[in-house]
Symmetry: C2
Subunit: 408 residues, 2 copies
């Protein structure tokens, strides 16, 4: 499965105007590459969504500051250290990186995005970082655009690099969308982060990017949960690069972007699911679909209540057709539910219909589905037109092992 997931990198078609430099500077590991510098030959349009954590890291503070600018020259990412809860010194270090890069690239500071992931509460080895830039930039990489190295460099406890690629159409032109992400729960031995970076050569305005990214996130990155925890450093950015020899100087109108939105949704869901598949200790990917809720918000509440229930997640780890726990999780979601309306399918098979266990309920069929790697739960609330899909993973002893027994 992992091999198949990694194969995607060989299919990525480079986007002209994007330069990727990676290096190991020994932030935590002395072997694994741990910094990435992505630079755009011409300014890219950009939109970013940031963590809602109230204890967000200093780089998030910086990104909030430049958020409305909408133009990017550079993205710098480091792994191995989240530079989170590092106070004034932590923010000063972000500014040092920004200043240094602005000088090297002769660009506005407001065009520099900084992203970090890794251990929290420790200061960045700032000298190492600053000293790395000239070396990184002088280094000729084998490939001009090494997306796999990019994906590897931003991993922490991820067990595989995560990428996705899609070709899309706007009007009658073909464009690429490339996505790179990392994350595998709120990661041991300390805690890390969900980061995702998406790139396209479709010439889109930053407000179009922002609108579409926010819409996609509601169906993908905001719909996954490994352990219900939220990081101090989470972020998702999308960059749009204008093709060099593009005849079209004009931007597209919003009507033309329907197909792009759909493809961006699919790519985001693909990336999000890869994070869940890599959930700490996870053996199973669980898709939970709630339909006919009062509205989409209620659907998502109910779906997340199931997805975050330890009892549901452990039952699925144990391949136990314990539908009572699903009922419990629906009941505890703070939504108006009509008990005698609920229908539940596990896999393709109904277990509950209109609030009652189905006649001839055959637990063996359900148990057979639970033995698979991909689990599907379907909940029909029969209340309205709202629906939602979320993804989670099972909760295994391995999760406890990773998070309790290890210590870096």
């Amino acid at each position: 499965m992992k091999k198949k997931i990694i194969q995607v990198f060989s299919k990525i078609k480079p986007i002209e105007g994007i330069n990727i430099n990676t290096a190991n500077i020994g932030i935590k590991s002395k072997v694994k590459e741990d910094v990435v510098l992505v630079s755009f030959t011409e300014l890219a349009n950009v939109a970013t969504v940031l963590t809602k954590s109230k204890t967000a890291a200093p780089n998030i503070k910086w990104l909030k500051k430049i958020k409305n600018n909408g133009k990017a020259k550079l993205l710098f990412v480091n792994s191995g250290n989240a530079n989170a809860y590092t106070g004034r010194e932590g923010y000063q270090n972000v500014l040092k990186i920004v200043n240094e890069l602005a000088e090297i690239f002769e660009c506005g500071k407001e065009n520099i995005l900084i992203s970090s992931t890794g251990v929290i509460g420790e200061q960045l080895p700032i000298e190492k970082v600053i000293n790395a830039f000239p070396i990184m930039l002088s280094k000729k990489s084998k490939k001009n655009q090494d997306w796999l190295s990019f994906a590897k460099a931003i991993t922490t406890t991820d067990t595989f690099p995560k990428g996705a690629f899609k070709q899309t159409i706007i009007g009658n032109q073909k464009f690429s969308i490339i996505g790179i992400c990392k994350g595998s729960g709120m990661i041991a031995p300390n805690m890390a982060t969900m980061l995702a970076f998406i790139f396209t050569d479709a010439n889109l305005t930053s407000s179009q990017l922002s609108k579409m990214l926010n819409s996609s996130i509601q169906k993908s990155f905001n719909n996954i949960t490994v352990d219900g925890d939220t990081s101090t450093n989470d972020m998702v950015s999308i960059f749009s690069i204008k093709r060099k020899n593009s005849n079209k100087k004009k931007y597209f109108n919003n009507k033309q972007l329907k197909k792009f939105q759909k493809d961006l949704d699919d790519l985001s869901i693909d990336l999000a699911k890869k994070i869940v598949v890599d959930g700490e200790g996870a053996k199973k990917l669980i898709e939970i679909e709630v339909v006919r809720a009062k509205n989409n918000k209620q659907a998502k509440n109910v779906a997340l209540s199931i997805a975050n229930s330890l009892l549901v997640k452990t039952a699925i780890a144990g391949e136990d057709a314990n539908w009572g726990r699903i009922i419990m999780a629906i009941g505890k979601s703070s939504s108006t539910i009509k008990q005698n309306k609920i229908s539940i399918k596990i896999g393709k098979n109904y277990v509950i219909k209109n609030g009652e266990i189905i006649r001839n309920y055959n637990e063996n069929i359900v148990t057979k589905h639970l033995k698979k790697d991909d689990i599907y739960l379907f909940i029909d609330l029969f209340l309205g037109a709202g629906s939602s899909k979320v993804w989670t993973c099972d909760l295994t002893k391995k999760y406890i092992e990773i998070n309790a027994d290890y210590r870096s």
Copy 2:
């Protein structure tokens, strides 16, 4: 520790006018007693708080119906079957029990409380239950008030019976408060419940009981979490019995009840902590105190966010001084937090002061505290006058084992 907890039963002084009958009727186990009938010689005043689950069991529906009545003749509890998600038949079975008991005791149906805990989705063996009553009532128990048998009969996967006893004073009179409860997480192999029943011989009105119970619950049963899951059958009742030869026929006024409220709070906290100590797979009891929040609600939100964080709970299971996870859990609680104001103590020792790690931070001291069975986390938000205390337990591999690997 468990032995000490059980010793409390030998200290309980009987309250005249309460009759306890227990029996095994083979609901699930063929050995353990699984039904309790508590009857009051004279009508007791009563107040009850019920689960907020939207998929609550039929007995909860019945209790809601009679809630405003405020008078109790009988309490019937069964374990081994929650009679939850059992539809119309489940509710009919509750009514059958009520009708039968009303006839036997020649009392109003509205004076009969029914409580169930155990497997959900299965119908009660109603014939067995109905047939048990005459046998139970003819049986002469060794003790007239066997609180230990009561506590044992309502357990499911609890590893020890849970009770508490307190003597209190109103005016210059001494009264007793006896509490019995059960619960150990949302319990494997299916799911169960938190039940608590409190009895006093202080002559209190049902509205006084209701007011005081609701107040106590906010500091005790609502402040514990094992896995964040909520049962379909949760309930807490308090019964007040008028002393037979009491000269005082009058009720007390609210001013006189301050000491009683405090003692009821303490007893409820005692019971609640026993549930957490018995949390599935738990090795450690964790007390989380949040002070100087904007208000009490925010304090509780933050405390519960920490208490429900899998990463905090696994770190404590691993005796890992991973304060970054506490910061993360504070950050994800949807409250306005000022990062640079937060102070954190683990045990008696500050780790963070005013948003920064303390100088000379000595991890060894903190790790020493984490090796204990009782863990204390203190969070000062420096925002206002709100405070809250909650209790949880660590999350161990044993929890997963109980909930994933076992199956009844």
